[in-house]
């Protein structure tokens, strides 16, 4: 496949772009690096107060449940947003240098994964502090992250050319992401949902992938094969659809960038 060979040929450039993105993110301030770890913890604190004091629902070891959800959601939404903008942001390059466009969404997705890995550190701290069982199921996490990354890359491949062709795609996606966030049980348990809304969450593909990520941490179990099959299927579907959209539009991008 053409896209894949392009990435392979320009792998040094991808590595460079990933490092640059991480540097920009962490150079800004002394606590830049700490911020990646601190931010989800603060979010957790907010949710903890809101949902244990105001809306009251009982989830066993809520901090672990919610933090795993928040980390996943942050990865997903930030990677989608940055890779969606990755072609627009490099418009001047695309019209002047014959570089394969695919390196840009790939680099943003990879740096999203690196950020997620950093953010796992406070999660493990919470696991230890709350006395959550540390089981070998945690070794399944790399597979979960790979599935999540494939899905996210697929979405980025589909959205990045559309954001060049149509300027309102960015706003549209921002709204969609907010909707999706509430449709994904990141910080609330499925059990609180009224029956008539349950379908919306059940058929939300992001929920399937979230659970593949959260099960090994929160339930300390490797996800069941049936769930795994669905999640892998969704990720592959997203990747194939994204690649097709990317390829179909790639010849026209430089005309509009």
């Amino acid at each position: 496949m053409r896209l894949f060979s392009d990435i392979l040929r320009y792998r040094d450039l991808v590595r460079y772009l990933v490092l640059r993105e991480l540097k920009v993110r962490y150079r800004r301030s002394v606590i830049g690096f700490l911020w990646t770890m601190l931010q989800p913890l603060l979010m957790l604190l907010v949710f903890h107060v809101v949902f244990s004091a105001i809306f009251r629902f009982d989830v066993k070891n809520y901090p672990v449940y919610a933090l795993a959800g928040i980390l996943f959601w942050n990865f997903f939404s930030q990677s989608i947003t940055t890779s969606m903008n990755s072609l627009r942001g490099n418009a001047s390059l695309l019209t002047k240098i014959p570089v394969p466009h695919v390196v840009f969404p790939v680099a943003t997705t990879v740096s999203g994964v690196v950020n997620l890995l950093f953010a796992l550190i406070p999660l493990f701290a919470i696991l230890v502090v709350t006395g959550h069982p540390l089981r070998p199921s945690l070794f399944f996490l790399p597979v979960s992250i790979l599935i999540a990354a494939a899905f996210t890359l697929g979405a980025g491949l589909a959205l990045s050319p559309l954001a060049v062709l149509f300027h309102d795609v960015v706003e549209l996606v921002a709204v969609l992401l907010t909707l999706l966030m509430y449709m994904t049980p990141t910080f609330y348990p499925m059990a609180i949902l009224p029956d008539r809304f349950l379908w919306a969450v059940r058929f939300n593909p992001i929920r399937s992938i979230l659970e593949i990520f959260r099960d090994p941490i929160y339930l300390a179990k490797v996800p069941p094969v049936s769930h795994l099959t669905v999640a892998i299927g969704i990720a592959i579907l997203a990747l194939v659809a994204g690649s097709l959209i990317f390829r179909a539009t790639s010849d026209r991008i430089a005309l509009y960038a």
């Binding site: 040929r9 320009y10 040094d12 450039l13 590595r15 460079y16 640059r20 001047s92 390059l93 695309l94 019209t95 002047k96 240098i97 014959p98 570089v99 559309l162 062709l165 149509f166 300027h167 309102d168 795609v169 549209l172 010849d251 430089a254 005309l255």
Partner: protein
Amino acid sequence: MTAPLQQPDLVVEASGLRLCYRLAQQRIPSFKEYAIHWLKGSLKYQKLWAVDGVDLRIGRGSSVGIVGRNGAGKSTLLKLISGVLKPTEGSLEVRGSVAPILELGTGFDHELTGYENIFLNALLLGHPHREVEARADEIIAFSGLENFIHSPIRNYSSGMIARLGFSIATAWKPAVLILDEVLSVGDQVFKRRCEERMRDLVTDGVTLLMVSHEAAAVRSVCEECLWIDQGKIRACGPVDDVLEQYSELATAGQALRRGS
């Protein structure tokens, strides 16, 4: 048995090459509006054929200057040959690697130092990291920027950026070297050094395509010349002949304007 009809020495081959910019009559920047117009069937574009039926056969080791008025389609033609734009119609084949400088300072990050930019720029041109490392010293030496190479290039003059860009692009031997009006900002000393390097590369089998509005620069490095007008080839051939025709038209145009 005869050999297959192939000319291995042709580096750029184009026939009926056309490129169309679609300029929306009402600017349609949003998906919503696009969808509405598409549904109503009222999507109208003004078509601009920037390159309009170009046939080219450029051999290995040729040096071709490209002249023409602003908006004639020179840069678009170079973008097509570079692979930045894809032809709307016609066929185009470029055999081998292309090193383009289509604009001064693209592929540079102004916050990074000159040294860091050597890596960024060369990686963008598709060279592997360890090759850039191996040639960094040579690139710096040719650019003559030893004293400034570790300061951010936002402090560089445009001439200095041109030096760095040219040094990077020509540190590797491409099949086709493409320059779009980039040396005009360099000083005389550097310009002469660049012209010398271009001639060396061409002798070495590199094909050079160069857009320039300076007849002297074209004459000093190019043997052939292509005159583009309204997306079509108006004339091509030995550099002196074409430049003469081109300047005749320019003076005629001036005379006409003065007369009116």
